[in-house]
């Protein structure tokens, strides 16, 4: 019991039924912190503790859920995150993506359709490491890294409906 799952097995997604939907839509926050939290959450949905646990396991295996647990605020943990963008010539894009992704500080990296065509998020445990990582990426790729640190965050609720 209590095996942790990697969620990395690729699998065709089974259909999501109404109970799965209720789990996804009602449990995106506020999971109880008490002795038997799955039992308490399951009672609200109207299923058993065991069924809730099994469905969560299945939703993770199917990659409908990335995971089930806490979503941490990296900055509150003392870490730092910074959105960055680069303008990379098309014929050098793949090579550059490989070099950028090789940095452990790069948490996400997306290609986007704009002259600034590579957008990545640097995440480091210590704030001064952001500028240092950006400088090393410039050195490794030969392209300027534009930093777009968050100045202010506007509240958004929990919004992904299944």
């Amino acid at each position: 019991m209590c095996q942790r799952r990697s969620g990395s097995t690729k699998r065709r997604q089974p259909p999501v039924d109404n109970i799965d939907r209720a789990i996804i839509n009602t449990l995106q926050g506020g999971f109880p912190i008490r002795e038997r939290p799955y039992a308490a959450a399951a009672a609200v949905i109207g299923i058993t503790e065991q069924e809730l646990i099994q469905r969560i396991e299945r939703l993770i295996e199917a990659q409908t859920l990335s995971r089930f647990g806490p979503l941490f605020n990296a900055e509150k943990l003392g870490g730092a995150v910074c959105l960055c963008a680069m303008e990379v010539p098309a014929d050098d894009f793949d090579r550059t993506a490989g070099r950028v992704n090789a940095f452990v500080e790069v948490a996400h990296n997306y290609a986007r359709d704009h002259p600034f065509n590579m957008w990545f998020v640097l995440a480091t445990e210590y704030p001064p490491d952001i500028a240092e990582a950006a400088a090393r990426i410039e050195e490794a790729t030969g392209y300027a890294v534009h930093e777009f640190p968050k100045i202010d965050e506007f509240y958004v609720g929990l919004k992904l409906d299944a």
Partner: protein, 166 residues
């Protein structure tokens, strides 16, 4: 750059709790007891630490973390707006409250290449749906925004979370 560093009372046990839970809670009837056993402390201690982290925002939320792509949100557009500085607070609050905006941030302009200072992420089933939602934002911001643009993602090149090492 981050506006606030870690809470001063964040100690070694908190850090170990983060490491033990960042990939998920144990999926068993008494997950906090299972964590307590693994970390050599009491379930009451684990629960009070987690409650404190929820209360001070170290944990943004606790529960199901959906994969938006798997839920059918196949298109994601990063809409970016050039907002008059004195209207930024109002514009950001209004746009952030829209039910289809999943992230909304004030970020610096990088002139001349980048005049935009408000970023709002819009998810939809396809580009048409995203465009329709961006048009709604444009209508709301018509008196406070100059230029805007939408950058669609064309490929996910890498996706891992923040990883704190043990």
């Amino acid at each position: 750059m981050p506006e606030k560093l870690r809470a001063t009372n964040f100690d070694e046990l908190d850090r170990r709790i983060v490491v033990a839970t960042q990939e998920g809670l144990p999926l068993c009837p008494r997950p906090y007891h299972a964590l307590a056993e693994r970390l050599g402390t009491s379930a009451a201690e684990i629960m009070s630490r987690l409650e404190a982290m929820v209360a001070d925002g170290t944990i943004r939320r606790l529960g199901a973390i959906p994969n938006h792509y798997a839920l059918g949100y196949r298109a994601n557009g990063m809409s970016v707006w050039d907002i008059h500085d004195n209207e930024l607070q109002t514009a950001g609050t209004t746009v952030g409250a829209l039910d289809f905006v999943t992230h909304c941030y004030h970020r610096p302009r990088r002139p001349p290449a980048w005049p935009y200072n408000l970023f709002a992420m819009v998810h939809g089933a396809n580009r048409g749906e995203v465009e329709e939602k961006v048009a709604q934002i444009a209508d709301i911001l018509k008196h406070s925004a100059g230029a805007h643009d939408v950058l669609y993602s064309t490929a996910i090149l890498k996706k891992t979370g923040l990883r704190i090492t043990a």
